[in-house]
Symmetry: C2
Subunit: 315 residues, 2 copies
């Protein structure tokens, strides 16, 4: 384990030729954006590079692989991108991998074991660091690289809205925009909704409960609701932000019933309330503004537990 | 009427000392952001400057006037910002004004009569031009100027999401962010929802109708619905974007019943469908992607008219 600089990252990439790039499971725009940007960049330098994704690439990211064809080679250098811990790597991604040579990430909590580690917690997205490496390598962006970088930074910042956004994030956006289909990317990730998604949104609004003088808002979905609407995990994305958006709410809690009598809990907080600390009470964790945990039990019991804990936590 | 350059705008501002800055009625983030940024900039140069707003400043913009105190002087130079036409200026704004000396705008359709006109249709927000003038005047941004400029560009681009956003928009954001409370501004304009707003959103989803194989989606509010929920015009903002976000929808139509048996119609389009051209059929107008009109009649009749026209228009 060695903490290295971005220049050293660039040197290591220059020195090697056959890359396998690892993404985290349930891949999001940042891990995928990093991986494809890096793969396209390495290929542009005449090297070989493949991206390992756990399971099927979610179809909304199809545009990232428009010009991507899996290459046939034995990898000699393993790079992980946006992966904060070992258990976030799916088994299929780790196939044939016995250790990680280089870890590029932006999670302050990173614990991934790798020979060389570069973590920039000030980067809104790990894709910011990938972009900076590409600049150090003096590579001109092309459509593929620009689409991937823009995807990483826009999705990890909620289209430049979240508090992790920095002036640097905007500067990088300005640099890649002329090369990429950023408006289509925004449309896919921030505008487009399926009818099913709209139905579940409408239904979840009916479950809204306010507690603690409106400082706590709780919404939920049950397996039964999802079955009735025919909605899957894809439609659930973004629901967790709903209760925390409401005026006066300090803690917005979203409960999603999963198989086996377990609720997956997402907590979003305002006004400096520490969501990660709250979720730690239930064995969970995350960021100060957004965290999660799992709680076993039936709807009413789990909700009562959460509300009681939230009231106690907010004081 | 003389079309001038941005350098000439800067010169004219330097040459004069007592400014009245005119905003358009139903003021939005761009017209207000421009006006206060310009007023603070002029005051920083030791000049006098007041902003004229029609009616009460919407409370969500209170942070723009934290350090703004009306000055007592007789204006000698009248500047309009983000005002595309004479009829968009409220009567109270025009009080004591017989002509406009300088018009700074970004609407390609600008028809406002003024001695000097600067229109940059490539600017996502008129605030981009105001920022560039401030740079030409070699003024360092402060919190007030930065808050105002960020408000103009972020609100006119839907937080850097709409197609009018450019690399320049991001560059300007990067420059003003270090000086301003951009995260609070994002929260106010792009996150925060009142409970009343959430209720009307929930109710309007129930009115969703799909037509023309799902290419047309229509939602509506009636006076009766608003009365039942106790919602006003403030809560109506943003509703118009809902039907156009749905997968497969080319034309999203929002109908809002107003007093006097009239529906205010908002049309949002995808895939290059011209909303302004469509609304022109009903005497309305606007931008290619977002336009509006008014139609008299009862709910069912107006909706049928719109659907028929939409089906005909899409072919």
């Amino acid at each position: 384990m060695k903490q290295i600089t971005l220049k050293e990252v660039a040197s290591l990439l220059k020195e090697h030729d056959k890359f396998k790039i690892l993404t985290h499971s349930y891949p999001d725009g940042d891990t995928l954006g990093c991986a494809y940007a890096l793969a396209f960049a390495m290929r542009k330098l005449g090297k070989k590079a493949n991206v390992a994704v756990d399971g099927r690439l979610p179809s909304k990211f199809d545009y990232l692989v428009k010009h991507y064809v899996e290459q046939d080679f034995v990898p000699e250098y393993i790079v992980s991108v946006d992966v904060a811990a070992r258990n976030l790597l799916g088994d299929s991604v780790m196939e044939g991998v016995d250790h990680i040579d280089l870890c590029i990430d932006h999670h302050a909590t990173n614990t991934l074991e790798a020979d060389n580690v570069y973590v920039d917690p000030h980067a809104a997205a790990a894709a910011e660091s990938i972009w900076r490496v590409i600049e150090l390598l003096e590579l001109e962006p092309d459509e593929d690289i620009a689409n991937a970088i823009y995807t990483g930074i826009s999705t990890d910042t909620g289209c430049f809205c979240y508090s992790n956004t920095t002036a640097r994030t905007h500067m990088i956006a300005a640099k890649v925009m002329p090369f990429c289909d950023w408006h289509r990317i925004n449309y896919i990730h921030f505008v487009l909704k399926t009818r099913a998604k709209l139905k579940i949104e409408r239904m979840i609004l009916d479950t809204m409960g306010y507690f603690h003088d409106g400082a706590v808002a709780v919404i939920y979905t049950t397996l039964d609701m999802c079955e009735r609407l025919g909605t899957g995990d894809d439609e659930m994305e973004g629901l967790a932000s709903i209760p925390g958006q409401i005026e006066g709410v300090k803690m917005g809690i979203t409960m999603r019933e999963k198989e086996g009598g377990v609720f997956k809990i997402s907590v979003r907080t305002n006004d400096g309330i520490d969501a990660a600390k709250f979720c730690a009470r239930f064995g969970g964790g995350g960021h100060p503004g957004a965290a999660g945990c799992s709680i076993e039990g039936d709807l009413e019991t789990v909700r009562a537990k959460l509300v009681e804990a939230a009231e106690d936590f907010l004081g």
